[in-house]
Point group: C2
Chain length 344, copies 2
């Protein structure tokens, strides 16, 4: 069943049917009604590929996600997906977890292969952006919550994210002001080159400001997983009891840390304070509730997709936005308890 069949049944030419299909005004109402009825009756759906071939517009928006296991992104994908659908476009979702290519290559290939009209990257490392990196594609690109370092090529793409360094700095400072001197930080991976690198930097900066010493031993690795974080923390607690606070750079890891503390018969807050990062709702409902750096994820999602459509429709040019985070103070972080030195 194609446009020709419909035309034949209706006793009109294919162009008339096409006009009806595309809501052109120059069709007699009567004819339009008749054709519409036939289309409906025969369950005809236009062939998208033929349309795209002709119009050169796939109406496909790509969403490239690094680390989909991150529940933080799931919700954003949801918001983005709904908006894409609303705009009459199709979402093509591709994960990028197990690819060891440069994220850049994956992105460029993705756009070309799927002939995307635009793409949003959720997470990932784009540390080697060059001035001409995006010259070979003309689909607008929005990098959301990704790690970039270079200032090159900034006029060729947009980015939306938070100030990771600053957020980590404030979180750490908050702990310091509570009297903590021996603070550990839990990163995702050893030598994390992504956002973890910036958060570590903010952490160190706060420490430096107060002349507190920082050693590699204060770095814990949690693989961004609850389970890993749990094991790492348990091991730590058996060896180094002089730590009074742990700053985990994801809420998922903060949960693992919390449970490890509990299972080690220590009291969260009293014995060891915790701060997480992300602002997932479990941090609020955990027992005890967990202090966290809340990212404005709904806003990030909405801005990303709206801005992308503005770019597509050429209503706006590329821009780079840093949104504010909020330090949500909860039960897991308390003033450090004064340890009376019996020998003193």
């Amino acid at each position: 069943m194609n446009i020709k069949d419909i035309a034949k049944i209706a006793g009109v030419g294919v162009s008339t049917v096409s006009r009806v299909l595309n809501n052109h005004s120059d069709v007699k109402d009567e004819t339009r009604e008749k054709i519409l009825k036939i289309i409906k009756d025969s369950n005809y759906v236009p062939n998208n590929s033929a349309r795209i071939l002709k119009q050169n517009n796939t109406k496909n928006i790509g969403v490239l996600v690094k680390g989909v296991f991150n529940p933080f992104f799931s919700e954003m994908i949801n918001i983005i997906g709904n908006k894409i659908h609303e705009y009459g476009y199709t979402m093509v979702l591709q994960q990028n977890d197990y690819t060891f290519d440069e994220d850049m290559d994956t992105l460029l290939g993705f756009i070309k292969e799927k002939r995307l009209q635009g793409v949003i990257c959720l997470g990932g490392n784009f540390i080697d952006i060059k001035e001409d990196s995006f010259d070979s594609v003309d689909a607008p690109i929005v990098l959301t919550s990704v790690n970039t370092i270079s200032d090159l090529g900034k006029s060729k793409y947009s980015s939306i994210g938070i100030d990771n360094k600053k957020s980590a700095y404030h979180a750490t400072k908050y702990l310091i002001n509570l009297g903590h001197k021996n603070i550990a930080i839990m990163l995702g991976e050893k030598d994390d080159l992504g956002i973890g690198w910036w958060r570590l930097k903010g952490f160190k900066e706060a420490l430096l400001e107060y002349n507190y010493n920082f050693s590699e031993e204060h770095i814990l690795i949690g693989n961004y997983e609850v389970e890993s974080a749990y094991k790492t923390t348990k091991n730590l607690l058996m060896e180094k009891p002089d730590i009074s606070a742990i700053f985990a750079i994801s809420d998922a890891m903060a949960i693992g840390v919390a449970k490890a503390i509990i299972d080690s018969d220590l009291k969260i807050g009293q014995d060891i304070s915790i701060i997480g990062f992300d602002g997932m709702n479990i941090s609020e409902f955990y027992n005890p509730s967990i202090t966290t750096v809340k990212q404005p994820k709904e806003l990030m999602a909405v801005m990303s997709i709206n801005h992308l459509f503005d770019l597509i429709n050429k209503k706006e040019g590329h821009k780079h936005i840093l949104l504010d985070t909020e330090l949500v103070k909860r039960e897991s972080s308390k003033e450090v308890k004064i340890v009376e030195n019996i020998l003193a």
Copy 2:
């Protein structure tokens, strides 16, 4: 840059280029190398639409999700997405949260519009499947973790899920055997017609077996959300202290219930026992850990996508699979404490 340009540059006919593109064997190695080099140098990517138009194979797999906010599905989408990519197909993800159409109509429209080669539905209600419901499409369909009622048309689609009634029955029985007599159940919505309906049925069945009374007052509504569950439970605890256990039909709601109990100065396990449903890892790491009905979500995801490809490749026919759940016993459910009646 199209196939003609490449052919011109290489000094060959378009069909030779096409043969190279499609890995046909009947091309001289020398010619192949030359063409491959030109393709690479000129960054040429074949136009998918033209290809599809000709071959009538989009290589698109649809994933239609109801309730993507459910973190339970996110992980499954991840597994499914990776497999689709691995098979050289593209995943088209569509959410179905705010659609009030029948899920059936959405599904059929989705397949036709995107010309899908196959589709997996994650969640949703397909209670009105007729014998000929799927006759108008020829893409194989796998319904995963969805609610079906009718036995009609079973040879036209596949399904993979768990036995919701049985699972709920066993969970309830476990509570009863711990001595609980006044058990509340928390459903997603009032008059839940989906899986909630079956879980409620299993719940009632267990109660009936022990001649325990069931009243509408034992039904709580939590909207499948942590927050809602929290509020509902808090209200309940202010009014009805004769309940000794709550069975929440999702882990997310179980967390809300747990926190509400804690905030009401009651002890989970001692005062009120909790059972959740799904087997998300937070149930293990919550404080205290929460008993739950664990669904084999990885297995469900893997089976769904593998079976779909078997159907596409006609290696197998439609089938209906019920997987086993596991009741994971944890700290949140304990023997009911004996209440000494002081007046007795």
